[in-house]
């Protein structure tokens, strides 16, 4: 997928194997910008005269990787959730070997629409409020998905054990990084000391942010990028959404955080003792584990000279933003707790 000139020919051969005997053509191949982790491109195809636009999403070569995730797992997740009626692009084909398309890749139906991030960027206050409500509604739908179809995902035994695993994940990540990271060690201890009330475990998208949501012509929301999906605490997605507003304004959750949480608490029936600005803030830093587990190993490879991606060099700045958030969020929660103590 790194060589756009060759891709139409490769795709024709690939689709002919998927549709034996069919007449296949591919044109208008064009890379899609915006995502940092995967190679993504749209193209037009005709299979026995039937026109369809598709999107190919593949792995960059290891030396150019910025995010270490498994395309096979993402494929299985998308298949199962699409079959269950979740709002996501229809997954069509998977190329597990990487021999036909030049990289391990999946092909999905293209969804016509605008990124929610871009739509939010040109919306006024009233429209932003409505979009925030829509984002809550999408989160509730995704989190309510039937996880029994997701046999390939690990199912934690209970909430406490799951949070233990996340915190241990932070410690292990720091332990394998080529230099000490006191921010991560601080965060792991802090998360352990300040656990919120538990919530039922369920589907977590894992990268729930406005850049990963498309708004279609009829106003429907469609969620993209399922590479970090897992079974966990649904507040992780709300927290990650909040976190991303810091680096990609305008945010939707931070406009009226209490209202955002209240709507989610009501629609999900989790209650406002479980979903509120403080618990979401807790998960804004806990949930960063997914991104850091994907990002930091590539930074380590970069430091060793194995990875040579400019994107990796660039997103090292992201690591400092993580550190900044770890301290800001933990101190803000402590201040809010202290204030509650004074009020009581």
């Amino acid at each position: 997928m790194l060589d756009p000139e060759k891709m139409p020919t490769r795709l024709v051969a690939f689709l002919e194997r998927e549709h034996p005997g069919a007449t296949v053509s591919v044109d208008s191949y064009e890379q899609i910008l915006g995502g940092y982790s995967r190679l993504t491109a749209r193209f037009r195809t005709e299979i026995d005269g039937r026109e369809q636009w598709m999107v190919a999403r593949g792995d960059p070569p290891p030396e150019m990787s910025t995010c270490d995730t498994d395309r096979g797992m993402e494929w299985l997740t998308m298949r199962a959730l699409h079959d269950a009626g979740a709002p996501l692009p229809r997954p069509l084909y998977f190329e597990p070997e990487g021999t036909q398309l030049g990289s391990v890749a999946m092909v999905m139906a293209m969804v016509e629409g605008e990124s929610l991030f871009r739509l939010a960027g040109r919306s006024d206050d009233a429209d932003l409020d409505a979009l925030a409500d829509r984002m809550v509604d999408l989160a509730v739908v995704l989190h309510g998905a039937d996880v029994s179809r997701l046999n390939h995902l690990e199912v934690p035994a209970d909430w406490g054990g799951y949070i233990d695993g996340c915190i241990q994940g932070w410690r292990e990540l720091e332990g394998t990084h080529p230099e000490a990271d006191p921010f991560i060690r601080y965060l792991a201890s802090w998360l352990d000391e300040n656990r919120p009330p538990p919530a039922p475990l369920g589907l977590v998208h894992g990268d729930f942010q406005t850049t990963n949501v498309l708004v279609t012509a009829d106003g429907s929301l469609v969620a993209l990028d399922w590479e970090l999906t897992h079974i966990g605490d649904p507040r992780e997605d709300l927290g990650w959404c909040k976190w991303n507003a810091v680096i990609q304004p305008p945010g939707l959750i931070d406009r009226d955080e209490a209202g955002f949480c209240r709507r989610y608490a009501e629609l999900s029936r989790l209650g406002d003792d479980v979903v509120n600005p403080q618990t979401v803030a807790y998960f804004s830093v806990l949930s960063a584990i997914g991104a850091c587990q994907a990002l930091l190993p590539t930074v380590a490879s970069f430091a060793r000279g194995i990875n040579s991606s400019l994107v990796t060099a660039y997103v090292i700045g992201f690591v400092s933003t993580f550190h900044e958030q770890f301290l800001e969020v933990t101190k803000a929660i402590e201040a809010a707790e202290a204030q509650k103590g004074v009020s009581a």
């Binding site: 890379q31 720091e174 230099e179 000490a180 060690r185 601080y186 000391e193 700045g317 992201f318 400092s320």
Partner: protein, 153 residues
């Protein structure tokens, strides 16, 4: 060697040229995004290059001071901070070469991590004192990073 102009000054001029001459000629959004990333990386390198070793040495000293306070306050249960301090003092950088100072800085990072872990469960001035060292480290990181919003989105 030629020491002047400084490395940061050279990078400043390269960045200015990229912005004034190269960027206006770029019409491909993908290439423009790459240029934005290059500028961000050059900005960080420019912020680090003239001070890196001195900043690490300053922070190592600061970490040693606060770790000693933790030990003297009797907050080092299990002697984990003491052990890390011993390792730090036993493996001082023999030179000012960046890689060797980085190795010492890495050991100091472990000392700070253990000091944070030791004091986090205990509310009070010592916890805030140790956390202030982490905050100092963060201020440096943010200075190096500069403004950061994702390009190309």
């Amino acid at each position: 060697m030629i020491g002047r102009p400084s490395c940061s000054r050279l990078l400043e001029v390269v960045r200015a040229e990229l912005r004034s001459t190269v960027a206006p000629a770029v019409t491909d959004p993908g290439v423009a995004a790459v240029l934005g990333m290059i500028d961000s990386v050059l900005q960080s390198v420019g912020a680090r290059c003239d001070h890196e070793v001195a900043w690490m040495r300053d922070e190592i000293a600061e970490i040693e001071d606060v770790a000693r306070e933790v030990v003297e306050a009797g907050a080092d249960a299990g002697s984990r901070v003491t052990d890390a301090l011993f390792q730090l003092r036993a493996h001082r950088s023999p030179s000012d070469h960046t890689a060797e100072v980085q190795a010492e800085y890495d050991l100091a990072g472990e000392v700070l991590s253990r000091a944070l872990e030791a004091t986090l469960p205990v509310e009070g001035a010592l916890r805030e004192r140790v956390r202030s060292v982490l905050e100092h480290r963060l201020r440096r990181e943010v200075e190096i990073r500069g403004d950061f919003t994702l390009v190309g989105r």
